[in-house]
Amino acid sequence: MSSLAIMPTTKTGSVAEPLLSARNLTKIFHTGGQDFRAVDNVSLDIQAGKVLGIVGESGSGKSTVARMVMRLIEPTSGQITFEGEDLTAKSGEALRRTRRHMQIVFQNPHSALNPRDTIGSAIAEPFLVQTKIRGMELERRVEALLDIISLPKAFKYRYPHELSGGQKQRVCIARAVALEPRLLVLDEPTSALDVSVQAQIIMFLQDLRTRLNLTYLFISHNLAVVRHLCDDVIVMSKGAIVESGSTDAVFKAPRAAYTRQLIESVPRIPRLHE
C-alpha cells in the first residue's frame, strides 16, 4: 500500500525536475451502493525524454492511472504536477490549453476514430479544436502528419473502416502528436494489433520519440513489450504499486513475489539459434 516514487538522477547526480509527477493518486468508484477502490495511493515521476511503463493485469488500475494523469477521470484525491504546474487545480480554459501539451493514444484503434469522419478530418480535428489554423495551412499540416506516419496523401479521403488496425493506430498517433505535446500517454497501444504490426508500431514509437523529443507513459499488460520499450517500470496490482524501478532492475531481480509470478507466467519461446 505504500507509494514508491521513482526519482532517477541525471548523470551529474542531481535530481532533475520531472516532466510529470503524481502524488498519492487515489480513485474510488461509487457504483450502486458499493465503493470500489480502483487506484490506491499511487505516486510516480516521469523524467523528460524517458519512457515510464506501468504493467499489471486487468483490474490493476493502470488504465485508471493513465486517465487520471490525462484528467479524463478526476482523481478522488491526490495531486498531479505537469511541467511544474499543479494540473489537478486547473479547470476550464486553463485545462484546455494544457491539454495541448499532453495527449493519449488508446488501446482500441477501431473505436478511437469517429466512423463518420474521414482520416483527413480526424487528423485535422486537433487543430480545429485547439488552434485557429484553417484552410491551406491546415491541409499542409495534415499532409505533413500523414507523411510522418507513412500513409499516402490519398488516405485523407478514406474512412476508418477501410484501414487496417495498424494503419488506424498510426492515425491515432498522428492525432496525438499533431499539437506537438511533450507527454504522450499510451494505453495498451498495441494490444489489439497483430504481432508484426505491433513491432512496426513499437519501432515507430521509438523513432518518433527521439524525433519529436517526446516523453512516454506506456501502459501495458505485455511484459515483453514493456521490457523492450521502457526505461523505468511500475508494477501494479489491485490498485496499488507493488514494485517500481528501472526496467532492467525490476525484470532481472524482481523483489516482490507478485512481480516474480507475473514474469514467470509469461510463456517462454525457445529462441532462434543464429
Binding site: 494503419q167 497483430d194 508484426s196 505491433q198 515483453a224 521490457r227 532492467d248 509469461v266 519461446i269
Partner: protein, 327 residues
Amino acid sequence: MTALLNIDNYRLDIPTFDGVLKVLDGIDITLEQGDTLGIVGESGCGKTVLARSILGIGPRNAKRVSGHIVFDSTALDELSEADWRRVRGVKISMIFQDPMTYLNPLLTIGRQLSDVIAAHYRAQGKSAPGRAERHARCERLLEQVQIADTQRVLKSYPHQLSGGMRQRILIAMALAGEPKLLIADEPTTALDVTIQAQILKLLRDLVDRLGLTVVMISHDVGAIAALSRRVAVMYAGTVVEQGMAESILTRPRHPYTRGLLAALPDIEGDAQPLESIPGTIPNLINPPSGCRFHPRCLRATAICRQEKPETRSVGADHVVACHHAYD
C-alpha cells in the same frame, strides 16, 4: 496409424460484395491421436475460418472449392445436421476466445452444464439421465477442470465468476460429451497472463490425463509454444510451415516465420532490436500470384511470383512451403 484428423488440400471461397475471398488456399494438416497442434498466424490468415470449418460452423455462404476434412475416417464435408449433432461436442468440441459471450447470462452454471449433458444423450438417441445423475456428472466435469468449490460454482451465474473460471467452465462443457478432439480458438487471448498460464497448464494436464487431442489456434506465439508439441504457421490462407514446435521455433525455415519470431520482443530482454515484416497483409480477393507472401519477402525472386511453392520436407517432421527456404 491413420491420422485422427486429416485436412487435405482444403480450399475455401467466400463470396462477398466486392468479389470472392479466397480465404483458404490448399490447407494440408495432419493430426495424430494424442497430439497437440498449435495453428499460429495473424489476422486474415484464415485460422479461425479453418477451425470453424472443421466443425461445420464456418461462414454461412462459404463454398468448399476442393479438398476434404476427414476425422476418424469420417468425411466431415457432407454431413447432415443430424449427423453433425452426433459429432459436435461428442467427437469434436470447441472452445472460444471470450468465455463471457459463450455462456448464457441468465442460467446458472449447473443448469447450463446439465443441458449440455442432456443434449449429448439425446443426440445419440438415448434418453437423458435423471437429475441426480446429471448433477453428479456436472461435479465430475468441474473437478476435471480443477475447480475445487463445485457446489458454489454450480449455483453461480456467469457474471459472478472470474474470467479464468469461466474459461474452465467452457472447457468442462466442451468435455461433457467426451470428445476425442478439442479445438481451442484463442482460448487465452482475453485472459490475464497469470490466468493464461493456469489455463495452459490445465490443457496440458487434460492432454496427459485423458489422452485428449488438442488443436489450439492463436496469434500468441508464446501460448502456442507453451502447449503445442507441433505447430502449423499460417499466412494469408496457406500453411507456410508445419512440424515439431521445437524445430520450427528454434530453426524457422520460412521467411514469414522468421519475420514473425523476430518481431516478438523477448521478456528475457536481450535487447535485440525488433524487426518487422515490411508491407501489409494482402487482400484475399486478389491475392498475390504464386507465393502469397512474395510481395513482403526479402528473398523473393521471379519464381515466387509465378509459382505457388510446393511443401517440402526439411527435417524429421518439419515441412516448409517456400522456394527459398532458409537452411
